[in-house]
C-alpha cells in the first residue's frame, strides 16, 4: 500500500497544472475564488477552453471525444482545477445526460447529441424532481402519452438547476400509468423551445436564481427523443446517479474551500490573536480538516475499487453523505468567522465588477449566502436520508422488515 502518486501520475498532474496556469482566465478564477456569481457566459467560456484541450468529457470514451482518463487522473484533475479556482464543469449534459446516451442511446442519438454537448451548442438541464416527488423520485406524475410518432407530455418539473441557461431538458416521464411505480417511467429528451414548455424561476433562500420550475402543457415530443426502451427509464436514472462518482465526495471543492477558510481565520482575530489560534475554533477547524483528509483516502479507495469491479451504490452513498457534510461544515465555519458581519445582505457585492466599499471583511458578503445555498447538498441528488437507506440495504444487508 502507498498513497504516493506514480511518476506518470505526477507527470499528468504537472500537465494539468501547466494547462490551468496557461489557460484558466484570471477573470474567471478571481470570480470563483471570491464566490462571485457566475453567468452562463462564464461557464460557456470555461467549457470551451476545456473542449479545445480535449478535457471537457472526462468520462467519455476517446472515440466520442472523451479523455479516456483513469479514475485517478480524473481525481487529480478535479483537485487541481478546484485548487486553481476553475469554474465547475456543469454536469447535466457532459456527465449525466451523456452517460445515459453513451450507454443506452442509439448510434443516431449519439451522433445527434454528443458533439453538440462538446461544442456548447446544447445546454442540457435535468427534469427529474416534481413538487410531489422529491426523495421519492419514483412518485413522479408527469405523463407522456404516445400519439403517432410523438409523445404528448403534461406535468411539472421542479428544482431544475440552470434551466434558464438550457435549450434542452432530459426528463423522467410516466409512460405507463397502470404499471408499478418504478416500472412505468421513461427517459425522454425535450427541446425547451417546443410550444407548451414554460419556465418559471425559483429564487433560493440566499436570493440567487439558480433553479426553476418547468411546466409542460401538451408538449409534443418526437418519439425518437426517447432514450432506451419505453418504461425502462428508472434503470437509466439509477445508472446515471451511480455512474459518476469521481466528484461525489466533493474533495476538490472542499479542499479548495478549506484552504480559503484557513486563510480567512489566519487574519480574522479574536482577543488580538488569529481566530485560528482560538482553542475551540482551532479544534473545530482541525476536526473538519481531519475528516476531509480521511475522506480523501476513502474516496480514492472507493474510486479504485470501482475501477476494477462493479460500482457499488453503497460506496456512492457513503461518499455523498460524508462529502456533503464536510462541505457544509466548511461553509458554516466561514459563516462563523464572519460573525456579526455575516448579517449584512449584499447581493450586489456578489456580482462581478462590484466596486462598492465592502461591509466588514471582504469575504463576509458571500459567507451567509454560501452557507445557506449549500444546505441543498444534503437534500438534493437523493437526500442523505435516502442515501442511508441505500447503505442499510445494499452494504449492511439489513432486512426490510
Amino acid at each position: 500500500m502507498n498513497l504516493e502518486l506514480s511518476p506518470s501520475e505526477l507527470q499528468f498532474r504537472d500537465e494539468v497544472r501547466a494547462f490551468l496556469k496557461a489557460e484558466l482566465p484570471k477573470r474567471l478564477s478571481d470570480k470563483v475564488r471570491d464566490l462571485k456569481r457566475l453567468t452562463k457566459a462564464d461557464y460557456e467560456e470555461w467549457h470551451s477552453i476545456l473542449n479545445r484541450r480535449g478535457w471537457l468529457a472526462v468520462s467519455w470514451p476517446a472515440e466520442w471525444g472523451g479523455t479516456g482518463w483513469s479514475v485517478i487522473q480524473r481525481y487529480i484533475f478535479e483537485v487541481e482545477a478546484a485548487a486553481a479556482h476553475a469554474p465547475r464543469v456543469v454536469a447535466f449534459g457532459v456527465s449525466m445526460f451523456a452517460a445515459v446516451v453513451l450507454r443506452y442511446g442509439t448510434q443516431a442519438q449519439k451522433e445527434r447529441w454528443l458533439p453538440r454537448i462538446l461544442d456548447g451548442s446544447d445546454w442540457w438541464c435535468q427534469g427529474f424532481s416534481e413538487p410531489g416527488a422529491g426523495s421519492d423520485l419514483a412518485g413522479l406524475r408527469t405523463t407522456a402519452v404516445r400519439d403517432g410518432d410523438d409523445y404528448i407530455v403534461n406535468g411539472q418539473k421542479t428544482w431544475t438547476t440552470f434551466g434558464h441557461f438550457a435549450n434542452k431538458i432530459f426528463c423522467l416521464v410516466r409512460t405507463d400509468p397502470a404499471a408499478k411505480k418504478q416500472e412505468g417511467i421513461s427517459f425522454l429528451a425535450i427541446d425547451m423551445d417546443t410550444p407548451g414548455v414554460e419556465l418559471r424561476p425559483i429564487i433560493l433562500l440566499d436570493g440567487e436564481h439558480e433553479v426553476n420550475e418547468v411546466f409542460f402543457t401538451d408538449v409534443r415530443v418526437p418519439a425518437d427523443n426517447l432514450v432506451g426502451e419505453e418504461n425502462a427509464g428508472w434503470t437509466y436514472a439509477k445508472y446515471l446517479l451511480a455512474h459518476e462518482r469521481t466528484g461525489t465526495a466533493l474533495i476538490g471543492e472542499s479542499t479548495a474551500a478549506l484552504a480559503r477558510l484557513k486563510a480567512i481565520v489566519a487574519t480574522e482575530t479574536k482577543a488580538g490573536k488569529p481566530l485560528s489560534q482560538d482553542p475551540l475554533f482551532a479544534a473545530r477547524l482541525a476536526r473538519v480538516e481531519i475528516e476531509l483528509a480521511n475522506l480523501t483516502t476513502t474516496n480514492l479507495r472507493m474510486l479504485i475499487r470501482s475501477d476494477s469491479s462493479a460500482a457499488s451504490m453503497a460506496d456512492s452513498a457513503m461518499l455523498k453523505i460524508r462529502g456533503t457534510e464536510v462541505r457544509q461544515q466548511i461553509t458554516a465555519l466561514v459563516r462563523e468567522a464572519a460573525g456579526p458581519y455575516a448579517a449584512p445582505f449584499r447581493l450586489d457585492a456578489l456580482e462581478e465588477g462590484f466596486n462598492g466599499e465592502p461591509v466588514g471583511p471582504d469575504y463576509a458578503a458571500a459567507a451567509m449566502p454560501d452557507y445557506l445555498n449549500h444546505r441543498k447538498l444534503t437534500i438534493y441528488a437523493g437526500s442523505n436520508e435516502v442515501q442511508r437507506e441505500i447503505i442499510a440495504s445494499a452494504a449492511l444487508e439489513l432486512p426490510r422488515r
Partner: protein, 349 residues
Amino acid sequence: MNFDLSEEQRLLADSLGGYLGKRYDRDAGDRTHWSALAELGVIGAFFDPTRGGFGGSAFDVAVVFEQIGRAVAIEPFLGTLMAGTAMGDDVPEALVTGTELFAFAHQEAALRHDPDTVLTTAVPDGAGWRLTGHKGPVRGIEQADHIVVTSIGPTGLASFLVDPASEGVSIRGYPMIDGGRGGELVLDNTPARLVGPKDGASAIARTLMIGTVALCWEAVGIMDHLRDATLDYMRIRTQFGRAIGSFQVLQHRMADLAIDIEQARSAAINAAAAIDAGRRDAARVVSAAKYTIGTTGTRVAEESIQIHGGIAMTWEFPSSLHAKRLIQIGQEHGDADHHLARFVALAAA
C-alpha cells in the same frame, strides 16, 4: 420557585402575540407599527416605573422577545432595550413612549469576535465630548433619531448620546440577511453627550447581559415556531406513500430536537432568573444560555431546513426568515465558542 408568568406578563404576551400574528406587516417601512406596539406596552415592559415603564425585570423582557421571535418582527426592540438600559436614569420619555427611535451602537467593525471590547474613543470638549470610532453592524441605525454609543473615555467605558445629524457622523445602511436593516456608523470627532450612570462600565455590562438574554428569548420563540412548523409539515407532506412524519428516523430526530428546545428554554429561564435574583454568577449563567441557544439554534434551523427539503431552500419558504435569524443570533453578542470559553473562565474567577 415559580415558573408561571404574572397576570400582566400573560396579558402582554397575548396582546403582543396577537398583534404580531395578525396585524403586523414587516414591510410597512414606517413607524405606525412601532407606535402601536409602544401603546401595547412593549417598551414599557423594558423599564421599571421610576423610568416611565411598568416592568423592567429580565422576565418582562423575556416575555416580549419570545413573541418577537415567533413573528421575526424587525422593529427596533433590541436597540431600544439596550439604549434605554445603558442610559439608566437618563432614559428619555420619548424612548419609552416610542415617539423617537434609538439605536445602540456597541459592536465594533474591527472586533467581530470580541463583543465586550470597545476601541471608540471619547475626549472631553468643553461641557461635552467628541467621539471617534467605527461601529458596525448597527441595527436600525438609519432610522434612529438618536444613537447611544459606547466609547472609552478618560475614566473608562461609558455611554454617549449622539445626534445622527451631527458633524463627523457617517452612516452607510444595508439590508440584513435576517430582515430589517442595519448599517455602519463612522464617527470622526463627533460631538456627543455623556449619559447613563456614573459607573458606565457596569451599566454597559448590565446592558450587554440583558441584551443577550433578550436574544436568547427571541431564539426560544423562533425555535418553538420552527419545531411546530416542521411538525406540521411532517404530518401533511407525503413521500413513498406515507406522511414523512411517520418515518422513524425523522421521529427520533425530532424527539431529540424537542428535548434540546426544552433545554434551551430552561437555559433562557436560568439566565433571566439569575439576573432578576441578582445572583453573583449571573454573567456565567447568561453565557451558559447563549452557548445553549447558539448550538441548539443552529441545529434547529438546519434540521428544519433538512426535513422540509427543497421547499425550505426557497426565498418563499414561510419559515426562511426564522431560520436565518436564528442562525445569525447564534453568532451575535458572542458565538457559542465565545460563551463556552467565557463560562469556563468565569468559573475560575
